[in-house]
Symmetry: C2
Subunit: 375 residues, 2 copies
Amino acid sequence: MTATPPTTTRRPIADRHLFGPGPCNPYPEATLALAAPLLGHLDPDFLEIMDETCDLLRHVWGTDNRRTLPLSATGSAGMEAAFVNTVSPGDVVVVAVNGLFGERMVDVAGRHGAEVVRVDHEWGTPVDAERVAAAHPSPKIIAAVHAETSTGVRSDIAALGALKGDALLLVDAVTSIGGIELRADDWGIDIGYAGTQKCLGVAPGLAPFTISDRAFGRRVEKPSSWYLDLGLLGGYVGEASGTGKRTYHHTAPTAMVVSLHAGLQRIADEGLEKVWDRHAEAGRLLQDGLEEMGLTLFAQEGARLPELTTVRVPDGVDSAAVRAYLLERHDLEIGAGVGEFASTVWRIGLMGHNARPDRVALVLAALEDALAHAA
Amino acid sequence: MTATPPTTTRRPIADRHLFGPGPCNPYPEATLALAAPLLGHLDPDFLEIMDETCDLLRHVWGTDNRRTLPLSATGSAGMEAAFVNTVSPGDVVVVAVNGLFGERMVDVAGRHGAEVVRVDHEWGTPVDAERVAAAHPSPKIIAAVHAETSTGVRSDIAALGALKGDALLLVDAVTSIGGIELRADDWGIDIGYAGTQKCLGVAPGLAPFTISDRAFGRRVEKPSSWYLDLGLLGGYVGEASGTGKRTYHHTAPTAMVVSLHAGLQRIADEGLEKVWDRHAEAGRLLQDGLEEMGLTLFAQEGARLPELTTVRVPDGVDSAAVRAYLLERHDLEIGAGVGEFASTVWRIGLMGHNARPDRVALVLAALEDALAHAA
């Protein structure tokens, strides 16, 4: 056994511009909240903050679902919670695949015994609601990604909701929540999960989750996951907020919840629709600027996310060298592409606090500098 | 949908003494690290910090296991990861139950189809290794809790390791790690999980996890959980630290990992065995002080944890009223009992940064004050 402590490095604190696909630089309020004196998970103050966090989450989800809460793990665990609580072996799940996260849904649903019907789309294009709805006559679940982080594409969830019939609509809103229009109830979303580290402007670590009464009524009674069992988690957050009745399930990650509360409060104070507008403007400025530089956008026109822009690496340019230059020279992170586009696409995120004109100006100037050096 | 933001409360920041069963007040280094500029999960600086965190975790676990990492969820998810990766339907799992967390192991193992053989012990007493080892001739797994958070009892894991035979030894070290002697390799622990919010002195949110090559070789190839699939998580931390080869799995909760790194570094700097001694002294001072006040300790003598003391509520004293007084008057949290002992036992934790003489003096004085007011 390692009786001697390992040797570690004392390093200066890095101060990065996080313009990749997430995490982003958090809202200052969210960072400060992390450093506040820690609260116990049963502290009356914490329970109030948890209740308010659920209320604020309902606001950003656009839902009245009483079962709306921050799961105590990252966004990917939100995907797992969505399927483990709703899929029994043999259930038909139609999955719209137009990027990595749709692909992952296929894997996760399959692990719980789903009969998966996948509907593939070209990467960079949005989900075709009619094709997805026609893929099976009576699925239990139709699943899709609202904002594909791997390609920078937005899909029309309302269109899926209009065609879902009796199926439950399960939506990945990791990269959309808090950045673009999202109206879970109006669009017919039954089960939704998200992350904190994208447009909500909070560090990664929690998965905002919502489920309708209709979906909850069709859930798996005793899912294989104890940690993500929504039947038990209802008691953890007092089911309907404000009742004050709680049962101990697990120790809430209190610092992260308090930080999420602060980020959500910041968004509510600014005004949710104004925050969407701010993201829209930043994305437009960035995408216009990239095209003015002669670069080619990757995501299909009309389906481009403002908060996450995909752009083709110019011929003859070394994608990794440019990213390394940006990091070393400008302390600025952008993302590589995913899968077959790993070295031919960049992903540039302007999310949450970073959806601002100064950040657009910086990333365009830095990229121009990097391309001059890489040429 | 909730178009209007909910009304929330602007409240003063509470500054609590967290002397319950966890979380505790973190090491100052861990708190400050939370507020540092956020790093991306693929940032070279973060990957170094992750590697060092795994090295430091090996140190506090007392293991050379290359598969030692912080899972991206709370300690309870560590329990889930332990079972979901090792239990196939029909596998025999012997569980030593001497408190709530042994009880929970029975539930979690059962969800994955284990044939559970439970060996019950009176709450407040330690696990009887011989009885546990004799419960089944050839179990796949023997599972036990090192430090029962519900009762304040320490069990002899080395004794279980000596008798485990071919079985895998699965241990809950949530409340022991970083507080009392723990030597995973020397004691024959094959699978171990813990939490950050107890004696490691970090906020809740991660589950330090370790698994031996022997146990990994007998794992479930494609477990029902994608999020906690150790076969995938190996790539996430570069399998053997320092190789630099990584595959994207999920977005690491970077702020929490950086904070854990700072807490572990603090422990290594002080010296792990000195930290154990500090906990031992604080616990002894507290337990002596409580007995001097005429109170009766709950956990069996000889098996008492120094970091978590259980004490009987005196006859005629209202447990909840005392706890409320402590919180309101002294901003001081202690824990209620669990299960049938909910109102007859208190749990007082002196963990991590709180395992210090000044904290002992404070909690004894405050409790004396509370008892005088509650009488």
